[in-house]
């Protein structure tokens, strides 16, 4: 249930209404302040709530809406119909993800493989225009015998790359036990596709402060994905970015997954959360990455995550889908042209890069 207040509602009245709702109906009340409107989201057993009775509890109430969708806090209505922004601090300054901000670029290797490798890659992708460095310390691998990531020591190398370039760090958390050490280095904590419905992990990550990148599960419906995000918001963390990385369909011969770009317009109408697209995992082949990255921009994505490796042929994981730094340079050039056309590109990134 959502209670929309008239513009100009005095703060005291907002507080009074919130408390009355809480006491009368036994629900949790969440306030969301938009540019022009204040909205109160009611969470709990709202099936029995009486719309008219609530409507009549204050002359400042403009409208009472029942949310039919299973997700509440992530729904667009709960955020007064507007997009939210997720602001992430990085050594280079705060970076904002959201519909009304320039496209944010994340790039880097699948796995952190060594200090020189990660620091050099960081420098290259920063010079090209990236804002965040991605790199896996803990790697979810189908086989227990495959390289599992260098773990904690890889986090130190990411910290070194962060210091050397000022880029924010995005890295995946697989085990809640690693959260404290990972959170020291990561500016954004990634939850991978395989853990999208690892609800225990979601609750723990939702209960801490670092922004979270929530990848879509391989065969997660839009509703399931948003409900997974709802776990994070329900646990207290509003800073969630949704990342599409390709779904599993009947044909994996050429593209490893099917990158579902229609999530961009679909999510826009359902949720206020920012959207990132990962064409590298989404296609599994480096030559398919540039056209799909450009398509994501044309479709309105808020951010992109692209795998870049100094020597893809020798990568310890996901080599075939990684761009070389040179190819990434060229792709950023192409993206910038398109990004400017759609009004979502900031020149500042190159300024920062040239410092």
């Amino acid at each position: 249930m959502i209670v929309v207040l008239k513009s100009g509602t005095p703060i005291d009245e907002i507080t009074r209404v919130s408390e009355e709702l809480r006491e009368t109906w036994g629900v949790t009340v969440e306030k969301s302040v938009g540019e022009h409107k204040v909205v109160l989201g009611l969470i709990g057993d709202t099936a029995t709530l009486d719309k008219m009775q609530i409507q009549n509890s204050s002359p400042w109430i403009e409208q009472v809406l029942r949310v039919e969708k299973p997700f509440k806090r992530v729904s667009r209505e709960f955020h007064h119909g507007e997009a939210s922004e997720v602001v992430v601090s990085t050594p280079n300054g705060p970076i904002s993800f959201g519909e009304h901000h320039p496209i944010v670029l994340t790039a880097g290797p699948c796995s952190v493989e060594g200090e020189e490798m990660i620091v050099e890659t960081a420098k290259r992708v920063k010079a090209a225009g990236a804002h965040f460095l991605r790199g896996g310390a803990y790697k979810p691998r189908s086989s227990p015998y495959a390289f599992q990531g260098y773990g904690e020591s890889a986090l130190d190398l990411l910290a070194a790359a962060r210091e050397a370039t000022g880029l924010g760090i995005i890295t995946e958390l697989m085990d809640a036990a690693d959260l404290p050490v990972l959170a020291r280095t990561a500016d954004i904590i990634q939850i991978g596709a395989r853990n999208m419905q690892n609800f225990s992990l979601l609750k723990k990550v939702g209960a801490q402060d670092k922004p979270v990148l929530l990848k879509r599960g391989m065969s997660a419906t839009i509703d399931e994905w948003l409900m997974a995000a709802e776990y994070l918001l329900a646990a207290g963390n509003p800073n969630v970015i949704l990342c599409e990385r390709g779904i599993r369909t009947f044909d994996a011969k050429y593209a490893r997954n099917t990158l579902d770009l229609s999530v961009i317009p679909v999510l826009r109408t359902l949720t206020h959360l920012p959207i990132m697209i990962d064409p590298s995992h989404g296609t599994g082949k480096s030559e398919y990455v540039p056209p799909m990255a450009l398509a994501a921009i044309a479709a309105g994505t808020d951010a992109l995550m692209i795998e870049v490796h100094p020597n893809p042929a020798k990568a310890l994981s996901d080599g075939p889908q990684s761009l070389t730094p040179e190819k990434f340079d060229r792709l950023v050039q192409e993206m910038s042209v398109l990004g400017k056309v759609v009004g979502r590109w900031s020149e500042e990134r190159t300024l920062v890069a040239s410092v």
Copy 2:
């Protein structure tokens, strides 16, 4: 098997080599003339052919390649690695589909519902910049009780719209028995998703001259789709355009299908045939169409098919996915900006439209 001839090979030698291959090995030989190279495609039981022996049969043979893929004539190698173009005559002049041509726009209603309706729609989409009018005379419907299209009389109305606007006509063939009458009006014959593996129909449509638009089956793999196209080429018709219209996945709640834009880079490497994207069927909802149409352009499509209906709420079929003419106007505006950025937009269309 493909025999690449050196540039400058004399015509007589090409003929001699072709005949020798035919006689010695019992294969069919198809000649494909590119800008710089001539390529001979060998079709038949090529497993037993001896590469070295063929190589030595003429000093003009540059290279002998074995094609591992199941498709031959549609494969890029068979067309000396270059894109082919499909040129379609329309009253407004010939329109070329292909990688090195401006993006071709097709628009119109799902079904032809009346003369005024189809002629007016044709005028509107032409004015906006479309080159082809789509409109169903025979409609494949899940239910035998649903509107099945007005059939032959709808073809007459399409002919009237063609005459009124000069637009080319694309309409679907469901039954080979309708081919003669349909071919009188259609400039491009559409084979729908449900008939993609109706091999009897493919053979008959492949044996006539009109260009063919081959929609991808709902759960057709890329290989199956290309093999269906191979049926058309094998039957003698080289003028085939491939149209992605969304595949069936596990989630149809918001977008009815999953538009698989990665086919664009995937097909580019596999085939020389032109590519069309249909974001209307691909998403099933008009509000998702513009972002996906723009994404298709950014990803490099050669053509687009977009449903436009003067009054979507009253459409006899597929109303929810149809744009109004006004929304189509706006979308073409946006597409033209992007199309120019990627160098695939011709201003000529507006000139033609304003005549």
Copy 3:
């Protein structure tokens, strides 16, 4: 809409009510006579029909039901909640398919490859206990270069096998033009998975008398499959058997398709039509066929279709999924044990076989 008449309703009253419904409401009325009840199915624009007014039109009307499902004639309600039976004449006598009949066995090769081959196979599968011989004359193949079946001459060979064994013949129709010649030999006409939504073909096959085996499309939903059957019944042919042959999912590495046995209980509640299971196409590997055939019997199938080839390794198509006659013998033994336990096995088949 369904009108259930009280038991004992006089024939004249049934006729009167039917005519009144037809005249008053402009609907088609179909009578279905069950053991105890007569049911009138109303087809047409039934949305505007007034339930009460119909109820009051005769004291013999027990109940008026609105059918919410998109399929009418195939729905269980339309057949007064009971299973229908499809009786097929064969030289060996009539064979009944249906929930209250013994399991019907169909066996034979994917393609007819020669007279001796098909006649010998027919004798072997008859001796083992089969009632029908399957064998393809027209083969839908992904590649235009693959063996397409021997066509009309294969039909002659099937006729010879029929004469030699008395088995009924099931063979696939791909092109309506072949219907007259195919119907001379076939006792049941098969519509293959790829043509399940070839609505033109369905209309033509529905308009003739031979029973039809309708295979489920590779990614057809239950509703789409039943609607395809509805096309056949709506065109006048009530003798339709539904055949599950495996659906396309995300994993085809071991089993080529995913045999969806849950269709058995699902279809039972939705439709009155008999159900056949094809574990050969359903799994694509001969070693998986016996356990899935047995599972189908346990789940309640009415019929089975199993590929048997005298020499699977040399089969022109689908060798890997074909049983040898010896393995088929053993499987029928196992099936008979299970079939007796579930009360769906007739000893008569062995009597017939030993003649």
Copy 4:
């Protein structure tokens, strides 16, 4: 790589060969003792191993095989081609899961909802013939607002039910932090479909002693599932049972998931691990459960898991797919008939039940 030793190889030679392999090639060597053969499995970087050199290292070596599959310890070859058995102690005595043992029955509610409820259900399913009680203490729910299970207190109630009936307990672990407390009550630890690729959890559960039931992920391929099991075995726990619970396909309208029974013959050839089928989650509707349970027995399953709830209409979760105790009684009757026919039913269960 697998080293098969001749029958009669002396123990000392086995030890010598194992050590030599370890030292020379740097691999881990696992010994598996079958009825007639001893097999040494080599794990590690085996790509560079020289088959001939290994063959020549002892006259007792019968054969050296390269395993092409990505899974090693779970592969049938690694277990000298034979099925393994998983023996689980319960208060009623040890219960063996495996191809050569009677079918094991697990039954109980989705969630533990109260002491009386769970103890009564346990008594009912034991009386019917079940060996294990299933019941969720920690529930993975799509929504953070849905009932999440009673957690630790539910474990106490399961312990009470165990004491009252002697049934073994199967319950799901979602969070490694709960492992110590859960392992006190559970006789088998269940890893749910959503955590099948939660590799951190798998490593921890693999490192403890309780047998593990590993459910297949909703869209997990057979290979991914076996690799997840490989994580458990690689961590030291050989007592793993694989449980199919339905996969996600394109049609969820009637059956919620598609129960993939072909995994039974597929897994038999690939792995030695026992197989369980869960037709309750596999179909999502109680009326579909009995036919699919019977089908699973006919296809050769080693165990079944069936949801039983005293009052499905009031269940806190998954009511629609739960059988009443009465329906479960009837189903066990039917299963026993089939189970005897296939030689996989022990009368002992009723004896135990009647004590």
